[in-house]
Each structure stands twice: as C-alpha cells, then as structure tokens.
C-alpha cells in the first residue's frame, strides 16, 4: 500500500528533469556571459570630437597646412583649385606620417610609406592612398570637417562633391 501511494520519479521522468535543469543552467550561464561581454563595451566615451570648424577657406594658401594635425589628425591640402581634408593615418598600419616640405611628400617614419601631396601613395608598403574626410561650408562660410565620413580614392570616391571644396 505504501509503495503505491509514494510519489516516485521513474527513469524517464528523472532524465527529463535533469535535462530541464541543465538547459536552464546553460541558459543562465550564457545570459551571464553575454552580460559580461556587454560590460566590456562602455556606454560613454570621452574621446575627441569627430568634427570641427576649420576657419575660412581664404585662410589656406596653396600647399599643405598642418595646423589641425595635432588636434584632429587632419592635413588641409589646397591644390589645383581644390581644398581637401586629408587623414594623417598611414594606410599601411595606422601610424602618423610626417609632411616633408623640401621633398613635397608625406613620409611615414615606421616603415617608409611615401605619399604625394595629394595623398596618393608612391613608395613603401602603403597599399592605398590616404583617406579624405568630408569637408563642407557652414552657413557663415566657414569650413566644417566631419571625420565620420571617409572618401577613398581607390573606390572612386574622390569625385564626390563632399570630399573637396572648390576654392
């Protein structure tokens, strides 16, 4: 009599119980893991602004202007009636080249990549030209450079009207 009334798990019920337990445990671990993964991405970053006002176009003479290089990583290059905002990040491995006025070229000290004044690579390991940033005029006629928009020569994007200012 006692045998019949006792609540007993049979073998099948026991394994289904264990399966549910393991699935729940694994799901909890996975959830925790994804939370920890998300934890490694901060919500707020105190990083430099990605756009800036670069004065009036009339301030720039023919050639390379380095005034924004240290603050924003941009060379303003005026050449052949165009003013462009050239990225100062070497396309080889991401170092910062120098402008050599005597030789009229950008030269990276790390591995020797060389670029012409217009940003086209011609020596060293650099696989492609320097990138241009979006450049536009504000309503007051000042230059606004937006580094979140990138124009790449090898993709034919240097003809895009936002990639240069006619001066």
């Amino acid at each position: 009599m006692a045998e019949e009334t006792r609540q007993q798990l049979n073998r099948r019920e026991f394994f289904s119980f264990v399966t549910v337990g393991w699935v729940a445990f694994t799901a909890a671990l996975a959830g925790l893991g994804s939370l920890v993964f998300r934890y490694t991405y901060p919500n707020v970053n105190f990083e430099p602004e990605m756009d800036f006002i670069a004065g009036f176009p009339s301030e720039y003479e023919e050639g390379v202007d380095e005034r924004w290089k240290n603050g924003f990583g941009v060379w303003m290059v005026r050449q052949e009636g165009k003013l462009v905002a050239l990225s100062n990040i070497c396309t080889h491995l991401g170092c910062v080249p120098n402008w050599l006025p005597a030789e009229l070229k950008f030269k990276c000290p790390c591995h020797g990549s060389g670029y012409y004044m217009n940003g086209i690579n011609f020596e060293g390991p650099a696989p492609r030209p320097l990138e241009r940033y979006k450049i536009a005029l504000t309503p007051e006629g000042k230059i606004k450079v937006d580094k979140t928009k990138i124009y790449r020569y090898e993709k034919g994007q240097w003809d895009h009207p936002d990639s240069y200012l006619a001066v």
């Binding site: 490694t40 991405y41 901060p42 970053n45 990083e47 430099p48 491995l93 991401g94 170092c95 790390c110």
Partner: protein
C-alpha cells in the same frame, strides 16, 4: 642515545602531522604519498626515465620557461608596488623604477625575462617537435602548449603598452589595427562590409573587437588600464591554469619526453 632520534620526535608532533599528512618515506605507500600529497611535487612525474633528464636530449627548455615565468611573476608583482597605470603617471613611474628605487634592475629583469621566455618557449617547442614528442598520446598537450605559446606572446604584447612611451603607443596602434582587420569581427576586416542592414552598419568602429580591446576608438587611457589588467591578472591566471594542466599531462602521458 636510544630509541628515537630528534627527527623522529619532530615527525610525531601534531604540528608536523598537520602539515605533512603522510608517514616517513620508508615504505612504497608512504613514498608515493610524499609525492602525491605535496602540491609542488605532485605535478612532477613519479618516475623519470634517464633520457628525460639528459640535457642533450631535452635542453630543459620547458623547465627553464617555467622558471622564467616564476621569475617574471615575482618581479612583476614587485613592479606593481610602484607603477600606476594612468596616462599621467605611467611613463614617469617606469623612469622612477630605474632611478628612484633600490634594485632598479627589477624592471630590466622583468623585460629581459619576457624576451628570454619567448625564446625558451620557441626552443622548447622546437625540441618537442624534433624529438617527435607531440605524437599520441601527447597530442593534447601539444595543443595546450600551442595555446600557452599564444598566451606568452599576448603577455609580451600587453606588457609592451605599459611604459606608455612612443614605442608602446605606436606598437599598440599597429597591433589594434590588426584586430581591426579580423574577419567579420573588426570593422576593417573582410566580411565587415557585408554586415549591413540598409544604412545600419552592424560592425562599426564603435562595436568591433578593436573597440573592445581599447575601450574606445583610439589608443588612450582606457586602453592602458585594460592592457594593464590583461597583463597582470587575466592572462597570467589563464596561463597558470594551463601550465598546471600541461605539467599534469606530461606526467600522465609518460613523463618528460621519453620514448614510449
């Protein structure tokens, strides 16, 4: 003098017995307990074949690697007393470690030790390969060893940023640009351009592996702190665990490098 000597009396005290839980090694069972009950000895093989300790055969490069790892742990801990992983202090603290601290050679030991460990790991793997010691049943331990090699290189790489000088910053700039080129996971890598729904970019410079590594889009102070913790806590913990597994498997797989 009769009966028991002084050493025997010490062995019978409760203090001794509470530390060493086996009897004197005067029979086979106790001799085995001496090894198995000692946290430092139990990772070692109980028996060594003669070829296993012949320097001309093993070069002792695994042992040297472990010795250097211990030396790096000790010197690294000592460096932590003076080094502050912030952009304001890091560089000057490294200078101070040489100039304002007795035994200023500690930082040099740590750095040269890191170089030496990379070399000994390579030589160890070269020896293991040339003597065929990676073959079954040791193939699992070869896999563990390869992971340990990668972690050794990562320890060197993460430590490279900590002096916060030009060399460090540009090395990490280059290294994190390699992370940027990871397939599908880095925003400059193959496959990243495909991960796009309409105008919404799934893999961008704000959510790829490079961002996770640097805690930002540029190499800055958050990257320094992150590399510091990886270098001092995270990777050493993983390495320590895997070294234990490595040694345990050396013992289980037939001892040091002997032909089976």
């Amino acid at each position: 003098m009769s009966g028991k000597g002084f050493a025997d009396k010490v062995r019978e005290t409760q203090v001794w017995k509470s530390i060493f839980r086996h009897g004197p090694p005067n029979n086979a069972r106790n001799r085995a307990s001496v090894i198995a009950g000692n946290v430092f000895l139990h990772l070692h093989p109980i028996k060594l074949k003669k070829s296993g300790v012949q320097l001309g055969y093993t070069w002792c490069m695994g042992g040297l690697t472990f010795f250097i790892f211990l030396a790096l742990t000790v010197t690294g801990l000592l460096l932590m007393f003076y080094y502050r992983p912030t952009a304001e202090y890091a560089y000057n603290d490294i200078i101070a470690l040489k100039e304002h601290v007795p035994l200023g050679i500690m930082r040099e030991i740590h750095r040269w030790g890191a170089h030496a460990m990379v070399i000994t790991v390579w030589l160890h793997m070269f020896r293991v390969f040339m003597t065929g010691s990676y073959k079954p049943p040791r193939e699992f331990n070869w896999g563990v060893g390869v992971i340990l090699l990668v972690l050794t290189l990562l320890l060197s790489f993460t430590g490279y940023l900590l002096p916060w000088d030009q060399l460090a910053i540009w090395a990490i700039a280059v290294g994190s640009n390699m992370a940027k080129a990871t397939p599908f996971l880095g925003h400059g890598g193959p496959g990243a351009a495909l991960a796009q729904i309409g105008d919404f970019v799934l893999v961008s410079d704000k959510n790829d592996v490079r961002f996770q590594l640097l805690a930002g889009r540029f190499v800055g102070e958050p990257a320094l702190l992150r590399f510091y913790i990886l270098h001092c806590v995270f990777i050493p913990l993983v390495v320590g665990t895997l070294i234990a597994v490595h040694f345990w498997r050396v013992r289980k797989d037939g001892g040091i490098s002997a032909p089976l």
